[in-house]
Subunit: 525 residues, 2 copies
Amino acid sequence: MSRKITLYDTTLRDGTQAEDVNFTVPDKVRIAEKLIDFGIDYIEGGWPGSNPRDIEFFQAIKKSKVPLEHIAAFGSTRRAKKSCDDDEILQALLQAGVPTLTIFGKTWDLHVTEALKISLEQNLEIIYDTVQYLKKRVDTVFYDAEHFFDGYKANSEYAIKTLKAAIEGGADCLVLCDTNGGTMPDELVEIIEAVKKEVGDYPLGIHSHNDGDCAVANTCLAVKHGIVHVQGTINGYGERCGNANLCSVIPNLQLKYGYECVSSDQLKKLKEISRFVNELGNLKHNIHQPYVGRSAFAHKGGVHVSAILKNPKTYEHIKPELVGNKQRVLLSDLSGKSNLIYKAKDFGLDIDPKDERLTQLLQQLKELENKGFQYEGAEASFELLIRKAMGTFQKFFDLLSFRVIDEKRSALEPPFAEATVMLRVGGEIEHTAAIGNGPVNALDNALRKALERFYPNLKTVRLVDYKVRILTGKDGTKALTRVLIESKDDKDTWGTVGVAHNIIDASYQALVDSIEYKLFKDAYK
Amino acid sequence: MSRKITLYDTTLRDGTQAEDVNFTVPDKVRIAEKLIDFGIDYIEGGWPGSNPRDIEFFQAIKKSKVPLEHIAAFGSTRRAKKSCDDDEILQALLQAGVPTLTIFGKTWDLHVTEALKISLEQNLEIIYDTVQYLKKRVDTVFYDAEHFFDGYKANSEYAIKTLKAAIEGGADCLVLCDTNGGTMPDELVEIIEAVKKEVGDYPLGIHSHNDGDCAVANTCLAVKHGIVHVQGTINGYGERCGNANLCSVIPNLQLKYGYECVSSDQLKKLKEISRFVNELGNLKHNIHQPYVGRSAFAHKGGVHVSAILKNPKTYEHIKPELVGNKQRVLLSDLSGKSNLIYKAKDFGLDIDPKDERLTQLLQQLKELENKGFQYEGAEASFELLIRKAMGTFQKFFDLLSFRVIDEKRSALEPPFAEATVMLRVGGEIEHTAAIGNGPVNALDNALRKALERFYPNLKTVRLVDYKVRILTGKDGTKALTRVLIESKDDKDTWGTVGVAHNIIDASYQALVDSIEYKLFKDAYK
């Protein structure tokens, strides 16, 4: 069972075909370095010749610390009317200067006759010719059989012929691609078994797309049925619905099936890799993502929580630590004192179970939760709450008043938003004003303007996210509002929360918590 | 192949176990109504007795237009030390007053001995006893075999005994649950085949979780192997990594395997259902979601685009229209006039395809979409937009100016919010002021106060929902804001939208659309 699986990542090529994914060249190099550390065997860096950025990548990667034997360039077979020597695509591939090339060719007769508009026989020649030409010039040539499964269903005999052309050309692996992503797992397995009868134990690979929401299952089943080379992307980035998600495929193959993919130390970096790539792509983390999401091992229901406290196996399919994740018991379910003490320890606070203030804190927490506060994603507010209750917090300023004016002077112009704030800081009164893009932004600007004179370290704080949620739908604009703010400085990221009928008031609470947390951590942590 | 599959939706129960999913009772009722229209057979509304909101739901649903035979209540088997007559859980289930109950019981010996701390034999009695007790009192009892696959792997003989206890009790269907979500597809199929040998053709169901990223594949394979009852949630909501996503399962079963799930007209509402549930949950649409995502049929790569223009089948696994989605070509937007004409017909508006204003309208619509407008859930705004462009709308008032002041006088008191508005109505200028619970509510109150003198029918309008969504997360409080408002009078319900950096401005746009729509429909429809 400990067959070694070759991992081939195409985040930097097929991944960037996603509508919302875009990497700079330095980003691509950083990702490649990270993926090699993680244990990926091959990184497909791009299609040189299709765009200038991809050519640049192949220049930049040579100056990085990534060993070139791990880098692959991607391209198509030669054009019908050109020889290999004259074909710009193949020449650009060779100029990329990497020892591994991946070439895609047509399997599906429909594509050959309708898209390429050539004869079926000509296509076979092109495949053979391209593979053998490149194989003489580089170490490794992988052959991607585009639309393999759809092609096989349309004309199985011809589909097999295309694979045999690539074998004759000397391809190192035949990668069966589910390009349109709609193949169902049972069909996929059946077709792989049929291919094996035709090509014996020639090395096979799989490249799945997620249009039927089965890319991960298809990839894992393919390996179970003898495939040795797996293509996919980090977080499942890719055109349309994405490619097979390596962040799910790798732990499935390794922890469920026992195949050898990466070392167990490398596997512990899975969550970090997933987040790193999202950060560089400026995309949100999917909290529900299998294995690596923030919620992947989070427990909410009362029945589940009491069972996992007895034995985690009862509601967890693997140990979260194996993939660098951790178990979470959601705060809303933390009603007992022991849970609160446990949580306070995370913040470096030791609370005596007999401390009277603990009872008051529990009562306060209950009232706040009834008002609509919740501390998931707002751990900084939660820490401040505990510290204030336990007397381990020191005030940095007091609000005396604020006023926000939002004025629209004609139907055509956007409104003008202005805020004034009056604060007491130490013995001094600070009274100032600022404008903004809207009332909350104006208030944020005025608060910082007032405080930065006293606390210049606030200049490093950026608000990275601002979320508004209306808690009770039926009262229209009178409804209760919850605001969640995420802030960041050069070291940390922290979340804060505010709840009020008035959105400005709710935002104010979350803004003040964000500022207080920053000042507290810089002074005392 | 046209075996009928029973669809059992648990968005309102298991879906709300997700960390970020929360519905009000009216939201739950609206979702239930929508799902029944869509063709779902059973809707699991909640666990009565576990929390007050679920009890409220079962009261509210009886006043809705949903036929009760489609509603199920969920709960556990009776406690070990109680009789069925004394057990609060079972009594609360019966009090829910619905004809279908779903009961989960323990399969896994580990859970029986470690979590319940009773003997294996006692657990079998509990299952039998609970099912037979309820089956005498309601029409249908589904038995959810919790942790079935893990339990089977640990002790197959005992796992089968638990199913047989439920059969003896008279359960209408045995639902095999992959509660921890880590079962791989090949294991799952093997176990289902083994179960069939033991229970013959007794009706079986499947309930999958997505911890191994295989929930959809597992569900589809289960059906392929004889299962007749499918549980899942819209958009795959659910605890940890979510449940099987019905928005993928249903089209896979129907379009790929040819099973009968919903009608083809209902299937065309798939995208709408997915977005509707996200909107009520205030969650982002996943653009890459299979079948229903905005990117699911979007083509970026040059090779792909030229091929799909020749024949869409070359890079699309199904026709997007079958699930209410559409093809998008990312480089140049080709969204057609014909769609707009088709949509306008819904509003009773006949547009001549050669009308020049149509071209301008398309251009305007494109610009609005780029700005972040979207018209799902805001059809009234969309109708106004078309009518204004086509010259079939008449203005009822003009805004001259508004001003909103939000003032906080001390740290302890809530702020004071006041709005002034100046409008021109006919030849008159109306200038007035109002206070509110917050700036948007104050503005809403002032607008109505100014207009009700001229249009007393506005008094019947209530805002029933107000939702705020921040569109670009990374700019903090400067981010773009989208406001969705739902309004109601004694006859109709309508949705409107506004988008601006300034939340007050966005709210104002949606409020004005709501008022204009009301005045227009009362005068002309």
